[in-house]
């Protein structure tokens, strides 16, 4: 067996383990929390009273305008000096959640705003309240349009979790760094780590495709839209 293959096989288990225990949970949790935060932020910007709109805009402005790595450092290394001490994993989770929240709020806002006014009026005309119209009429239609851009956010997130290595989360990329430190084989090990990220995002692409097809079927439309 060639040397590089042996090396890859030997390091596969620790890398996959780190991915399974840290990368995947970090991704799933921050996406779930981030999407909820994004949804609330979008509602605040679209329908909230003026002060709330200002808060939501400020939040999106800060998060989108500063580097994710810097945000993680502020949360993990910076906050302890004001008495807020977080473990690495929760610190990373907060950072990624805030990030996904800001980006996804723009997507949610756009897709909700894209639903024609007539759909709201039709809902009101049959007696629905604002909330019922949103939940029953607007969101199901908006969700269809939101799948591709939200999938983008999700796939970016999988890769961005590698930044958590810098705040001491022992996730996939940090595991790779540690193996490199003992084997001195950066090319092989980092390529292996890259391939695992590639596999994870490929799984998500396939899931996105299936979800799009399913949503398209439930409206009698072709998957390519209109």
């Amino acid at each position: 067996m060639p040397h590089w293959l042996q090396l890859m096989l030997d390091s596969l288990a620790p890398l996959l383990w780190a991915g399974l225990v840290f990368t995947v949970p970090l991704t799933l949790l921050s996406f779930a929390f981030g999407l909820s935060l994004g949804f609330l932020t979008a509602l605040a910007r679209l329908y909230g009273p003026r002060p709330l709109v200002a808060v939501a805009r400020f939040y999106v402005w800060i998060i989108r305008g500063t580097p994710l790595l810097v945000q993680l450092f502020v949360i993990f290394y910076g906050l302890p000096s004001v008495g807020i001490l977080l473990d690495a994993f929760p610190a990373a989770l907060i950072g990624f959640t805030l990030n996904v929240g800001a980006y996804s709020s723009e997507i949610v806002r756009a897709v909700i705003a894209s639903i024609p006014k007539g759909q709201w009026e039709a809902s009101y005309s049959i007696g629905m309240s604002w909330w019922q119209a949103l939940r029953r009429t607007v969101l199901p239609q908006a969700a269809r349009t939101a799948v591709p851009p939200l999938s983008n956010t999700f796939i970016s997130l999988v890769k961005d979790t590698s930044l958590a290595a810098a705040v001491t989360v022992p996730e996939l990329f940090q595991a790779a760094q540690r193996i490199v430190a003992t084997t001195y084989e950066p090319l092989i090990i980092y390529i292996e780590a890259a391939l695992i990220y590639l596999a994870l995002s490929s799984v998500l692409s396939v899931l996105q495709d299936r979800l799009e097809r399913r949503l398209a079927r439930s409206s009698g439309l072709s998957p390519e839209g209109a």
Binding site: E121, M128, S129, L221
Partner: protein, 251 residues
């Protein structure tokens, strides 16, 4: 009985309804006609509070609202909407629900009927509008005339006391509009109270007993439809009816 009294409405400071009053007897059909921008659609939308007038009064059966320029309380809006059904020029069916789902929606979501009771009622209505064979179709799979007939069934599902029709045939070619006119005429014969904003004289003459001509937010003339179409009292009415280009049909 539906009564609108001294309704005033403006958009961006532009008055679109100027002290308009209108009464529709129970079981009768009134056609609102007039050129584009005359305010007929706005008046119709005031009846189910999609537009909130600045002044005037609206009475539908037991429910009454007086407009003062202040926001209405939610309960008042709910009481009025509960008694109205509406169809739109562009149908506005819910594209993510089947024909059956569209009709069931108000029963299940608003009236909280059990699923099977709502389904039975919706099937009955779809049969009535001649779409028993299309209950599982998506709106995208239906012709314009079929979509508008689903919209009629949806508007009638919760048994409103008045059906509001906003240009119900304007988006349809003459052949497709005929099937919608047929259904509306059938409903009129059965005593459905309707208020129809339309350019379509064929629809108005066929379905309405009463008619009102609006121009620039004011009532020009109102009276029995046959008389208003055949021998209008006002020169403005005659001119408008002549522009519709249809031979005037006596009813």
């Amino acid at each position: 009985m539906i009564r609108l009294a001294d309704i005033e409405k403006s958009f961006d400071g532009q008055k679109v309804l100027k002290r308009v009053s209108l009464a529709v007897r129970e079981g009768s059909v009134t056609a609102l006609i007039g050129p584009s921008g005359s305010g007929k659609s706005t008046l119709l939308r005031c009846v189910n509070l999609l537009e909130i007038p600045e002044a005037g009064e609206l009475v539908i059966g037991e429910a009454a609202v007086r407009f003062t320029g202040r926001a209405l309380d939610r309960e008042a809006v709910r009481r009025i909407r509960r008694q109205t059904g509406m169809m739109f020029q562009n149908f506005q069916l819910f594209p993510h629900r089947t024909a059956l789902g569209n009709v069931m929606e108000s029963l299940v979501v608003v009236l909280k009927w059990p699923e099977d009771k709502a389904r039975a009622r919706a099937l009955e209505l779809l049969e009535k509008v001649g779409l028993a064979h299309k209950v599982d179709a998506w709106p995208a799979q239906l012709s314009g005339g079929q979509q508008q007939r689903v919209a009629i069934a949806r508007a009638l599902a919760s048994s409103p006391s008045v059906l509001l029709c906003d240009e119900p045939t304007s988006a349809l070619d003459p052949e497709l509009s005929l099937e919608v006119v047929e259904v509306l005429a059938q409903l009129a014969r059965e005593g459905t109270t309707m208020l129809i904003a339309t350019h379509d004289l064929r629809l108005a003459a066929r379905v309405a007993q009463d008619a009102m001509l609006l121009d620039a937010g004011e009532v020009v003339e109102s009276g029995p439809a046959a008389q208003l179409f055949a021998c209008p009292r006002h020169e403005r009415t005659a001119r408008f009816i002549a522009t519709l280009g249809h031979p005037v049909i006596a009813v």
